[in-house]
């Protein structure tokens, strides 16, 4: 489903983040990319999401060479296929939970009823319905994390990418997050999670752990 062929990524012609990475992910797999900060994990996620283009090599998702797609096609691809959970959540703090979550749906120009239906289904699934009118800036870290997960899932994407999702959470909230991931894995979504949190290294539902070190995968 997802393939990276001999991917090299160099930033500013100086920093080589990836040094010829070859990876394959199957549909429905739960993959943990393990590695220290700066090892290249986030770069791999950004390349799969089409947020970055490789310096050379190719990224293929569902037989589509996304590394060769023009930018606006990458945005469409991302909107339809990818849910991205960021380390710092990347929510808009001055908007409500509702508005943050429906944001990825707006470019689709859905009917109001359909939009609300998708929203309600998502907030119920991630247990944040009671906070839907609250401003994001007034939420706790764990609640913000749930909003971020809900936003990543509102489009029902086939692929979930999570970049250090528990870095700002305590252990209890991290365990909550793991349970949410377990639920998503059960829906046959392909999930790739980049982390250096040891909590993820011995989970029963993780299919593979790939170590990323100095821009190479082991």
């Amino acid at each position: 489903m997802i393939q990276l062929h001999n991917v090299i990524k160099t930033y500013d012609d100086k920093v080589q983040a990836l040094k010829g990475v070859d990876l394959r992910f199957k549909e429905g797999e739960f993959i943990v990319l393990k590695g220290v900060s700066g090892s290249g994990k986030s770069t791999i996620l950004s390349l799969i999401a089409g947020l970055l283009k490789p310096t050379s090599g190719e990224v293929i998702v569902d037989n589509k060479k996304i590394s060769k797609l023009p930018d606006h096609f990458c945005s469409e691809f991302r909107r339809d296929n990818i849910g991205f959970i960021f380390q710092r959540y990347n929510l808009i703090s001055t908007l409500s939970v509702h508005d943050n979550i429906v944001l990825p749906l707006l470019p689709e120009n859905l009917e109001r009823e359909l939009l609300e239906e998708k929203f309600q289904r998502t907030v119920t699934l991630f247990n944040i319905k009671h906070k839907e009118e609250s401003l994001v800036k007034n939420l706790s870290g764990g609640e913000q994390q749930r909003v971020a997960i809900a936003r990543a899932n509102v489009n029902n994407p086939k692929i979930i990418l999570a970049d250090e999702p528990t870095a700002n959470l305590d252990e209890k909230l991290s365990l909550d997050f793991i349970e949410i991931m377990r639920g998503l894995k059960a829906t046959n979504k392909t999930i790739i999670l980049a982390t250096h949190d040891p909590l993820f290294f011995h989970l029963d539902f993780v299919d593979r752990i790939i170590e990323v070190k100095d821009g190479q995968c082991y």
Partner: protein, 319 residues
């Protein structure tokens, strides 16, 4: 040599365009020679990025160049007041050997630059960017024409002698001068009108049949015959003078600047008409261009036909 604020504006803008277009030309040639759509090497990704930048530069140059043509015509008309003998832009064009080829080239470039902009817009809509090489090839050709246009324009303004008497449009577009131009504009009105309305009917037929190739060809022919018939026949009704065949005087205040409207209608109509045959648009996009084209072609025909008709109703005779 003649320098007015308008000429300075045109020259400065042209030099800026030339500077940016030369940079774009360098990268265009590089992309043409080295770009391979299927390869995923560092060079190919770099060329893809450069293609966006270069296309943006070209798009802005051409987007300004097209309306600048109106300013050029306005400038010709304005400086005619300082040239002894000239009554309108025709005298200025004819004042030097560069004027006529410059005007012809500018009209050609108008269509070429417009074509490039539309082609670029289409290319940006496609995942595989199948027009990428074609658009840079066309730009490389357009760059040469742009270069010639700028050289001709500067040469023209540089060599205008304000102390020499020039011909006025009455003698330049005279039907008795024995030139090819005189033969063309002096053709019998019946021939001109048969061709003009005949081609317009063919355009309508091609529109109904939605045959983009015929529609394109007939629009090209329509553009040529419309200009000839405007000078040879319809213009005389705008001026209400049977011997006045000037394509420039109608741009003046005396004639309510009607020339600007007529030329814009003709350009928009024929441009969109020609373009449907050159680019394979989606059905929705193609239909839109067909509609724009037929609307402006028809608008031109209606407005230009109104002049002899009103003249007839007012005076009971044709010129």
């Amino acid at each position: 040599m003649l320098l007015t604020p308008e000429i300075l504006t045109l020259d400065i803008l042209n030099l800026l365009f030339l500077l940016f277009a030369t940079v774009a030309f360098y990268f265009s040639v590089k992309i043409l020679v080295q770009y391979k759509a299927d390869e995923t090497t560092a060079l190919q990704y770099k060329l893809e990025k450069q293609s966006y930048l270069v296309a943006t530069i070209i798009k802005f140059i051409f987007t300004i160049k097209i309306p600048l043509f109106i300013f050029f015509i306005f400038t010709l008309d304005k400086i005619s007041t300082v040239l002894p003998g000239a009554m309108c832009g025709a005298g200025v064009v004819n004042a030097t050997q560069y004027g006529t080829p410059l005007l012809m080239l500018k009209i050609l470039n108008l269509y070429l630059f417009g074509y490039w902009i539309v082609l670029n817009n289409e290319d940006m809509k496609l995942e595989d960017r199948k027009y990428l090489k074609l658009k840079f090839f066309i730009f490389s050709f357009a760059y040469i024409l742009l270069l010639i246009e700028i050289i001709l324009q500067m040469s023209m303004f540089f060599s205008i002698d304000v102390n020499s008497v020039v011909d006025c449009c009455g003698s330049i577009y005279s039907t008795t001068s024995g030139t090819y131009m005189a033969d063309i504009i002096g053709a019998k009105p019946l021939y001109l009108l048969t061709l003009f309305y005949g081609i317009y009917l063919f355009i309508i037929a091609a529109y109904i049949a939605k045959n983009r190739y015929f529609y394109s060809i007939f629009n090209l022919l329509f553009m040529i015959i419309a200009l000839i018939s405007l000078i040879g026949f319809f213009g005389t009704y705008i001026y209400e003078l049977p011997t006045h065949h000037c394509p420039f005087c109608m741009l003046q205040k005396d004639y309510h600047y009607v020339g600007y409207f007529l030329y814009i209608f003709l350009f928009v109509g024929t441009f969109y008409g020609i373009i449907v045959g050159l680019i394979a648009f989606s059905k929705k996009e193609s239909d839109l261009r067909f509609k724009i084209s037929i609307f402006f072609d028809t608008l031109y025909v209606v407005v230009i036909t109104a002049y002899p008709l009103f003249y007839y109703f007012k005076n009971g005779v044709f010129l």
